[in-house]
């Protein structure tokens, strides 16, 4: 038989598709052709495969080799198909036994070693979902592949070892070659768990600490306005520490995205802590949203999925960049279209914005030191558009730290005990919202807030008044209700009372001082 068939996985964004690899050996002069829309790195596979097979002791056929990747119309990229093509060619030459429905995902080195590739987690997830649970990967990718429940993962260090297990003639195989495992991966420097910043470092700032706790408890978006040096960045950095650990499905989603973005690394484990993304304000829309040439890659918003996206100096961002975030804030997903295809990435992040009140940064409190004109201040504030701010539940003014609250770090409550309260509040939300298929107050749609969870009229009177006066938009009204539920969860009320609603309105409007 001069035809071999193996399987691999092509990733389009986070979605994987099973790719059937056919190899045919034709009776004509030596050549190697890969069909099925390969990109440049996949086309180079020919040379890698020839050398790898030669140096493993199982040289490829000296005839015309045609490898066809099916479906032919799906664009394929990257080096992860190397192994599947090599195995299909060896199969076509009858050098090994048929491999059945095994999926091969690895890059080949010229010396015949199997190298790890990025995106193993989503690829293996797709394979298992498509009914191909047997997977062969490079040894450095085994840990990551084994995260997928139901996957039967085999890891190999070299092509020769794999060919031997598939029944190749051991006489010529180079079996004593054992590459360094350190060499086959790209260990990321300094990925050890960094010492997370603790809330007890924040002196004073009682209101801001409270707002941060509420934001963490209900997964609400947060805007911090205040003068330079007030501790906005310090507060935002401490938010991820307050968030509870990720559940199993969430952790898989987050790990899958980070598997796509990072260099392939041997030390991949399930990410249990919410990610934290802190892009610089010169970032472009593509860097935040995702995109790039070829198939779109995830941006900072997707890397912050199930975690915190912190935009420091928010008014300094391009307005287009900020407004591009409006859609994922609503839908929790980013669908990016490019000529090479479209990709959907999840992006359910918690947005934290930090801003100075004006260009000079001193228009806080009475603002007597501020040298900005009112028009300058207004223009600065307007860089964050109304529709964006309307989606931010908590808008808080951070005051300059006063002497009274400064200098006794031990006196402040630490992250651990706040996180404990947050966890309890999240548990209450889960109990209440799980029947509706939701987890946090921030996800509850207005229909439910004003339906099943309707509060009685005396409780919401203050809101109704604000809506009537036009201080609140209809969406803003719902957002205050969500905040009120979170405040009730934190203070262990079964339903919010008028006090919770009042506090919620205060948290939303604290920064809304007219310039």
């Amino acid at each position: 038989m001069a035809l071999g068939r193996t399987y691999s996985v092509a990733l389009v964004g986070l979605n994987g598709y099973i790719v059937e690899v056919e190899a045919d050996i034709g009776q004509t002069l030596p050549a190697f052709v890969i069909l099925g829309l390969p990109d440049a790195s996949l086309n180079e596979a020919k040379e890698r495969i020839r050398s790898a097979a030669q140096n493993s002791g199982i040289p490829l056929s000296r005839r015309k080799i045609t490898a066809n990747l099916i479906p032919a119309s799906l664009p394929k990229r990257g080096s992860g198909f190397d192994l599947a093509i090599a195995m299909a060619v060896l199969l076509a030459a009858n050098d090994i036994r048929p491999t059945g429905r095994t999926v091969f995902i690895a890059e080949l080195g010229l010396d015949g070693r199997l190298r790890p590739v990025r995106g193993i987690l989503p690829a293996v997830m797709a394979a298992v979902r498509a009914g191909y649970p047997e997977v062969v990967v490079a040894r450095a990718n085994v840990a990551e592949a084994e995260l997928v429940p139901g996957a039967q993962v085999r890891g190999y260090a070299t092509l020769a070892r794999l060919a031997f297990d598939c029944g190749a003639d051991p006489q010529d195989l180079v079996l004593d070659f054992e590459p360094d495992t350190e060499d086959s991966g790209h260990p990321e420097p300094g990925t050890g768990p960094a010492l997370a910043p603790d809330m007890c470092d924040v002196s004073g700032q009682a209101a801001a600490r409270r707002a941060l706790e509420v934001a963490a408890a209900g997964a609400h978006h947060l805007l911090l306005t205040g003068p330079p040096g007030a501790g906005k960045t310090m507060l935002a950095e401490r938010l991820p520490g307050l968030l509870p650990d990720l559940g199993d499905t969430e952790a898989m989603e987050v790990t899958a995205i980070h598997s796509l973005c990072s260099l392939p690394s041997g030390s991949v484990q399930l990410l249990r802590r919410p990610p934290y993304e802190n892009p610089h304000h010169t970032a472009t829309a593509v860097a935040i949203i995702g995109g790039g040439s070829g198939l779109p890659r995830p941006g900072a918003a997707s890397r912050a999925h199930r975690g915190v996206l912190f935009l420091d100096e928010a008014p300094e961002y391009d307005r287009g960049v900020l407004d591009a975030l409006r859609q994922p804030l609503e839908s929790g997903e980013l669908v990016i279209h490019r000529s090479a295809g479209s990709a959907a990435y999840p992006a359910r992040f918690q947005l934290v914005l930090a801003a100075n009140p004006c260009p000079c940064g001193k228009a806080t409190g009475k603002g007597v030191d501020c040298i900005c004109t009112s028009i300058m201040r207004r223009r600065y504030q307007a860089r964050m558009s109304g529709p964006l701010l309307d989606r931010v539940d908590i808008q808080l003014e951070v005051e300059r730290v006063s002497l009274a609250g400064f200098g006794q770090p031990a006196a402040e409550e630490g992250t651990a005990s706040i996180a404990e309260r947050v966890r309890a509040a999240r548990a209450r939300q889960l109990d209440r919202l799980l029947p509706f298929g939701m987890e946090t107050n921030a996800q509850v749609p207005g229909r439910l807030l004003r339906g099943s969870f309707r509060l009685d009229a005396p409780t919401t009177r203050i809101l109704d008044y604000a809506l009537e006066r036009g201080v609140l938009t209809a969406r803003g009204y719902d957002r205050v209700l969500r905040l009120a539920w979170t405040l009730a969860d934190l203070s262990r009320h079964d339903v919010p009372d008028a006090d919770d609603v009042g506090q919620a309105l205060g948290l939303r409007q604290a920064a809304a001082v007219s310039p």
Partner: protein, 118 residues
């Protein structure tokens, strides 16, 4: 005669024997014109066969077939037409074959034959 020419000559003899053993008639060998040389011209039934012979002592520097690239193939087709013109005849069936001979001078030489390439 240099060593590589001796080897090449021996390979061509082996290839000619091989073709004859497989029912072909050798018409001419080492036909030259300004454009190059045809190793073997043979007749396979009605078809004219222009055969290029590549000989190696071992596979250490690649298989003989790998030495026949696109340029050489194109030249062989041009040479086929040149031969027909020179003979003043027109063969409706004409093909280019490549024959690989691996002969280490000790064991039985291996002859491989690819028909109708390019």
């Amino acid at each position: 005669m240099r060593a590589k020419d001796v080897l090449g000559r021996r390979g061509e003899d082996l290839a000619a024997d091989y073709l004859q053993a497989h029912g072909m008639r050798i018409v001419e060998r080492n036909w030259r014109c300004p454009e190059g040389e045809i190793d073997i011209v043979a007749l396979d039934g009605d078809a004219l066969v222009i055969a290029e012979v590549k000989t190696r002592k071992s596979l250490a520097f690649g298989h003989p077939f790998e030495a026949v690239g696109a340029d050489k193939l194109a030249r062989l087709h041009r040479l086929a037409a040149a031969w027909c013109r020179a003979q003043g005849l027109w063969m409706p069936l004409c093909r280019v074959d490549v024959i690989a001979v691996v002969d280490d001078g000790i064991g039985e030489p291996a002859v491989e034959h690819l028909k109708g390439v390019g």
